[in-house]
Subunit: 224 residues, 2 copies
């Protein structure tokens, strides 16, 4: 039975990936990376609750501590000295929440674990609209990374899948609705771990996505 | 002044890279990754001594703790339950010291740091003869990775250099001699942190390289 891994941050994009992976595969593993983001404890809870929902057993879950990224610095998500800015609607500027080359670090770790457990597919909820300024959220980046995997792994048979990469947030919400994913268990806010702030980039995109889809977001916001 | 980073494990291949980088550039940074290998404390000493030798100031050195790789497992270098085997001379088998996709994790971190400090070149002492069974030591792997960097970084201007990748160990020794690198400060053994064992894959290749080059290896061995 083919093994697949879902990179599950706990956000709605990765949740929809979990919905797709569990719909199409029976042997699903889940990987969560704690890279020292301010909301990491809250995301950890979402990870566990989503895994419980999809009946992913404990031995197929892994959380890797990547807090060493704080030693590299350069991002408001990991550096306590850089404040997370509110959303300004300018999608051409690379957000200050950017951790340089972060997705390559994440993908490399995920491929490493995939090779150990023998998984051949990796679902990742990268989304181009979500992060237009992040160079490592572009489809061409994932194509290039899949070539690195072919060259750099023993069997060359691990493939990264980015099923929501070209979707608008609205379409992701609708896809999640179709798959009946537990949106109430997901967490998107970059800024707060209690109630979602409703103001950061990630909240702003999520709120707009639900609004455009005409669906009520089941989570609570401080202000929206 | 262009900034460059040398990935400095403390072994002789990375030492020769440090010799090349400091010959050709004035603004050199050094990165060492502790990924939980059994000889990591000894390699750390070599890293510091080589940096001292090349007058790389403390603020341009970085050691990143990657011991989380032990959570992924699958290698004798990081897993205490897998013994490091002695060299058998069979270069077609992937050694048990293989950490899956390890070089991609290392390169991703190095590129991340390069983006933070503004470095545009990364020297890495990957060597094809050294590790013929490691898929991520092939030149084609590095070509593919450079494409990922172009796609996945803000400026796309960071390049990985692998100056010794196609050299025989003998040629690396001769290049080091030409550059007058401090071979006495380097550490290659996978197995021992006191005197080099002289038996593991890495010792065997080093000993043969010096022998073929007709140069005396300045470090001591338990047996050779």
């Amino acid at each position: 039975m083919e093994k697949v891994i879902v990179l599950l941050s706990g956000g709605m994009d990765s949740l929809v990936c979990a919905g797709l992976a569990t719909r199409d595969h029976q042997n699903v593993y889940a990987l969560h990376l704690n890279y020292g983001q301010k909301t990491s404890a809250r995301e950890h809870i979402s990870f566990d609750e989503i895994c419980n929902h999809y009946k992913i057993p404990l031995e197929k879950r892994k959380i890797i501590d990547m807090t060493f990224l704080q030693q590299i610095g350069g991002s408001s998500l990991t550096d306590e000295n850089i404040a997370v800015k509110n959303y300004k609607g300018d999608s051409t500027v690379i957000p200050d929440s950017y951790v340089p080359f972060r997705n390559s670090i994440i993908l490399s770790l995920a491929v490493s674990w995939a090779e150990v457990v023998g998984a051949t597919k990796l679902y990742i909820g990268a989304n181009h609209e979500d992060s237009p300024g992040y160079p490592d959220c572009r489809p061409s980046y994932y194509e290039a990374f899949n070539k690195v995997i072919k060259e750099g792994t023993k069997a060359g048979n691990i493939e990264i899948l980015t099923p929501v990469i070209n979707m608008k947030k609205k379409e992701i919400v609708l896809k999640g609705k179709e798959l009946n994913v537990p949106f109430n268990l997901s967490w998107s806010c970059y800024k707060s771990s209690a109630k979602a702030c409703g103001q950061c980039d990630s909240c702003a995109l999520r709120i707009r996505g639900f609004k455009e889809a005409g669906i009520t977001d089941p989570i609570d916001y401080q202000q929206a």
